[in-house]
């Protein structure tokens, strides 16, 4: 682990690290059990409001590990959705334009809602594609 600086180092020296990472891991384990029993289950743990040092967060991330999927999309800042080494546990990180995390969540679900295409978007795309295909530049038949 990289060397801690400033307040984090001071905190470590005075042994003020919290057991938050450990407690969160247990919560994730409980949720994962629920998901294993019911594939339709989904829950989200918001990490923003929890009193975690950066070291805590890093340790939690390390223990969860990396899985197979790494997805990202951009809307005024990058959102990164990575599957952890535990199937069904995802790490979602929204960053602003300066790549500072503005939202960090652990999602326990078959797939996070953000990865799903929205029905309204699908409808719009279907219409667009139909319109595009319905206006050919020349007549096409099997005899061409």
């Amino acid at each position: 682990m990289e060397e801690l600086t400033g307040t984090a180092a001071a905190a470590a020296r005075f042994d003020v690290g919290s057991g938050v990472a450990e407690a969160l891991l247990r919560q994730v384990a409980r949720l994962l059990e629920a998901l294993a029993r019911d594939p339709g289950f989904a829950d989200v743990i918001d990490l923003r409001s929890l009193p975690m040092h950066d070291a805590d967060r890093a340790s939690l991330r390390e223990r969860l590990g990396n899985g197979e999927i790494d997805a990202s999309f951009d809307l005024v800042g990058k959102t990164r959705i990575t599957e952890t080494a535990c199937a069904g546990v995802w790490w979602v990180r929204h960053a602003n334009s300066d790549d500072c995390a503005v939202l960090e969540q652990i999602v326990v679900a078959r797939v996070p809602a953000l990865l799903l295409a929205h029905p309204a978007d699908i409808e719009g795309a279907a219409r667009r594609l139909a319109t595009e295909l319905g206006a050919p530049t020349h007549r096409e038949t099997i005899h061409d």
């Binding site: 003020v16 829950d43 809307l75 799903l116």
Partner: protein, 353 residues
Amino acid sequence: MTETMQLGDMLRRRGISRRALLKYASYMASLMALPPSVAGAMAEGLAKARRQAVIWLSFQECTGCTESLTRSFSPSLEELIFDFISLDYHHTLQAASGEAAEAARRQSMRENQSKYLVVVDGSVPTADGGVYSMIAGRTNMDVLAETVEHAAAVIAVGTCASFGGLPEADPNPTGAVPITKLVTGKPVINIPGCPPLPQAMAGTLTHFLSFGTLPELDALHRPRAFFGETIHDRCYRRSFYERGLFAKSFDDDGARQGWCLYELGCKGPVTYNACASLKWNGAVSFPIQSGHGCIGCSEPRFWDRGGLYKPLSAGTADVRKLIGIAAVAGVALGAGAAALARQRRASTSATEQ
């Protein structure tokens, strides 16, 4: 102006998908301490809403509240709020000026009667008939009364509009008052702060848009989502406070190690705001992290509470209200009481003259 298209359709035309709206809603739900499961409902609510007409009135203000929300250095998710609202009147941001601007305000009021939101920054002077702040030949009091009459709700942003702020500070020569003193019969939300957090402003507007209701408020009309906890409650230096490790002066050894700033005047324990968790300038830092104590800028009369660098235990008596000293951990108050008595005599003799 009236907008008949739903937000969801309007945003898709601008290349913002429903997925993107869900990201925005997740962010807002998290900010407002709503359960993450609410994000879906919030996104649906936003998609079905129509652009909200907003009239922004600026009175005795410094424009810091607008600066906080609009951020000039990089785009932010908070600024998306400007896609969701129709900002029909705003001194700094609108293109029109003069009579055309006033006409735009009146037109919005007419077309959106009982549906538009009024956002106010700055306090309103009431002394001498309110002549100390006039716009377009009319007093602030006049314009406020006229504009809120058919509004859906009023949002007072910044400490000036919420509690009087700097204009209202001792000796308050213009008779400045907060918006709640002048508006009756309409719901008023206060979003204090000098300036307020942009998330607080954008989050409250988003809540209203998606759910059609105002968020839960505390006794001072502040949204609990942002003002439900003190800075002290979420301060990352709290562990040093608990262990009695305090910086004694700026940049001393303790300060360099990030110890608690209580003795350097930090008002974190008595200040309700979300700076310690949301931070400023894109979550980069906040006063305490930069080594300066909280000045309590989202609380009423913070300018007159005994000084920015005096610790809370030394007393934060508001000389005009003459209330008791906030004693913390049973610190002896002999010197503080004597000082207060001196201030009382000085204040009384001043008013008698």
